[in-house]
């Protein structure tokens, strides 16, 4: 039995675990799968709940949720699904506890990033068009945001390096990039439709 788990651990993919669980309802398999991501779940839970014990309990409760949910739900990307399950669970807990948190950055859209990532598939003229738009939009950004975005995306520096170069605090750098990114996205969408 133990050997079986070990073998599974090394061989099976998330999807294989999932289909096995849906077929057999074998908790050990599900446990092995969950162990792979348990640190991620804990980190996410800690991020939202900000309490070690509560986060630990949340990890276990999320597992209980998996035990029931995974029998019915078909999942493509287990890790991201698991993340949203854990996050939603924590948010529900916070809502129950009436702890207010700013949802700053929590529900941020990823459209822009995927737009950038998928751009090679587009036609050249489209890209050129978009690049032109991007250039225009970059000019509309606030100085700190533009600087951070440029350093991060164009020069591929890390936060630390940007902070060292610009003298901004690391946390500021991050929020500049996030906000700049969002503004860019809005600007690009406006150009596209207008």
């Amino acid at each position: 039995m133990f050997l079986k788990i070990l073998r599974r651990k090394t061989n099976l993919t998330d999807a294989e675990y999932l289909s096995a669980y849906q077929r057999t309802g074998d908790l050990e398999g599900l446990g092995a799968l969950y162990e792979r991501h348990i640190d991620m779940v804990f980190a996410v839970c800690f991020k939202y709940l900000r309490d070690e014990d509560r986060a630990k309990d949340a990890v276990m409760e999320v597992f209980e949720q998996l035990v029931t949910d995974l029998k019915i739900v078909q999942i493509q990307n287990f890790k991201s699904w698991l993340h949203s399950v854990a996050r939603n669970f924590c948010l529900m807990q916070l809502r129950q506890k009436k702890v207010t948190m700013s949802d700053d950055g929590i529900f941020e859209d990823e459209a822009y990033e995927s737009f950038i990532a998928q751009s090679p598939e587009k036609e050249d003229w489209e890209i050129e068009h978009q690049l032109a738009d991007l250039g225009d939009c970059m000019q509309t950004l606030a100085h700190e945001q533009r600087q951070s975005v440029e350093l991060f995306y164009f020069q591929q520096l890390c936060y630390q390096q940007i902070a060292a170069q610009t003298g901004f605090a690391i946390s500021r750098v991050k929020s500049y990039i996030q906000n700049g990114k969002r503004n860019l996205k809005l600007c690009m969408e406006g150009k596209k439709h207008g």
Partner: protein
């Protein structure tokens, strides 16, 4: 524009390294970028950073969580195991219980079994003695000796068999007869097979005598007797201790049971599902309560002693109020006043109507739970005129205390005789 490398999700280890500051700037950039792209990584990263800031030992937590998870996964399995055990235990219990019940039902027969066994034992010993006695006898032929020894062996065998049979719980009554029969068969031919002098024969005779006794006793023992668990119907009679008159409508009940029966017009009653040694109580107003322990399905008449104390304690309560007291139907003003009223009413009627024929009216009617009078009957088929007048007289003074038993109002029939003479 250079094609971007296919997006690779950083592993938790890489994220941990990032938080620990162990990565090169280039790698840091990659992780930061994927965090910007992917909410899950962003959250994980932030969580890890916060853990580091809170100086929580991530490894220890991780180990603890894995243990808890393992426990959780196992407990589910352990929960399954007891289910098997429980069902197995239930089956064993059920079988054991039914075996026990069967055994309990056969108590009288199994009791008889040891009797046979005991009787059988000295029996075969006698047979053995016969063999021993016969051995020194010089006249005995070899064959007869062999025969007698064979008999002993046989007897022993039979005994063993009967013991085995006992263990197997063959209905013991049959066994008792069977085993005694076999003993008899073995012993009876003994004097024949062994042509020996007197002593041996007598012993054998005694032996066969013993067998008969054994058989009789075995039969006696196996005869049906009441065991503690058998249910039976109990018949009995309730009588007044002094004048031996049957007490009608008295409640007879078993202690610990809710159902009670009432005695019939001859004071007889039948109680079903009675066990030996259960306690019977007879409660009736005016008599001291009686309590009897049941030993058999038929009992001698239960004699009830009058209890004046109890009578004086009967309390009549108001209408509408219920109390655990029985009250008999009666006119509200009491029987004496009512009889006087009937008399005078009849008298006035006669004096006012001297021409009507004289006679008595047996008037039957029902007093319902509300105290109303209804269903008047001319019981003795008296003159309709007199019957009408009787009804009028009774109706005119319509005040009756309704009977109730055990706090429950009851409609009751009553019969009055009014004489117009």
């Amino acid at each position: 524009m250079a094609k971007q490398k296919k997006y690779n999700e950083p592993t938790i280890d890489e994220l941990n390294k990032y938080v620990a500051g162990e990565l090169l700037p280039k790698e840091q950039h990659q992780i930061e970028k994927s965090a910007l792209q992917n909410q899950q990584i962003e959250d994980t990263l932030e969580g890890l950073e916060q853990l580091k800031n809170a100086s929580i030992d991530q490894q220890a937590v991780s180990d603890e969580l894995r243990q808890r998870l393992q426990k959780r996964v196992e407990t589910k399995e352990r929960k399954l195991l007891p289910f098997y055990y429980a069902s197995a235990a239930a089956v064993v219990l059920a079988v054991g219980l039914s075996w026990w019940m069967v055994r309990e039902q056969e108590v009288p027969t199994t009791v008889s079994a040891p009797v046979t066994k005991e009787k059988a034992k000295p029996m075969s010993e006698t047979a053995k003695q016969t063999a021993i006695v016969s051995a020194p006898e010089k006249e005995i032929t070899k064959t007869s000796r062999i025969a007698s020894t064979q008999l002993v062996v046989k007897a022993r065998k039979k005994r063993q068999e009967s013991v085995i049979a006992l263990a197997q719980e063959v209905p013991a009554a049959d066994l008792a007869i069977e085993s005694s029969k076999t003993e008899e068969l073995q012993v009876a031919p003994l004097p024949v097979a062994v042509s020996t002098p007197q002593p041996v024969g007598t012993i054998a005779k005694i032996a066969s005598e013993n067998t008969r006794v054994a058989r009789v006793e075995a039969l006696k023992a196996s005869a049906p007797t009441l065991s503690d668990e058998t249910l039976f119907a109990l018949r009995g009679q309730v009588l007044d201790a002094i004048d031996q008159k049957a007490l009608v409508g008295r409640s007879v009940a078993l202690i610990g049971q809710t159902q009670a029966v009432l005695t019939d017009s001859n004071g007889n009653f039948i109680l079903r599902n009675v066990r030996k040694n259960s306690q019977l109580t007879v409660n009736s107003t005016g008599y001291q309560p009686a309590q009897i322990t049941i030993k058999d399905s038929t009992i001698s008449p239960i004699l009830m002693l009058e209890d004046k104390q109890v009578l004086s304690e009967v309390v009549i309560v108001d209408y509408g109020k219920t109390a655990n007291v029985s009250q008999k139907l009666a006119p509200k003003s009491g029987w004496k006043a009512y009889n006087d009223y009937l008399k005078t009413s009849a008298q006035t009627f006669i004096t006012n109507n001297p021409q009507v024929p004289r006679g008595r009216v047996a008037l039957g009617f029902t007093v319902n739970t509300a105290g109303e009078l209804m269903n008047f009957e001319n019981k003795n088929k008296a003159n309709p005129l007199l019957f009408e007048e009787a009804v009028r007289i009774v109706k005119e003074r319509e005040k009756w205390a309704v009977s109730y038993k055990k706090g429950k109002l009851q409609a009751e029939k009553i019969r009055l005789v009014i004489s117009f003479e």
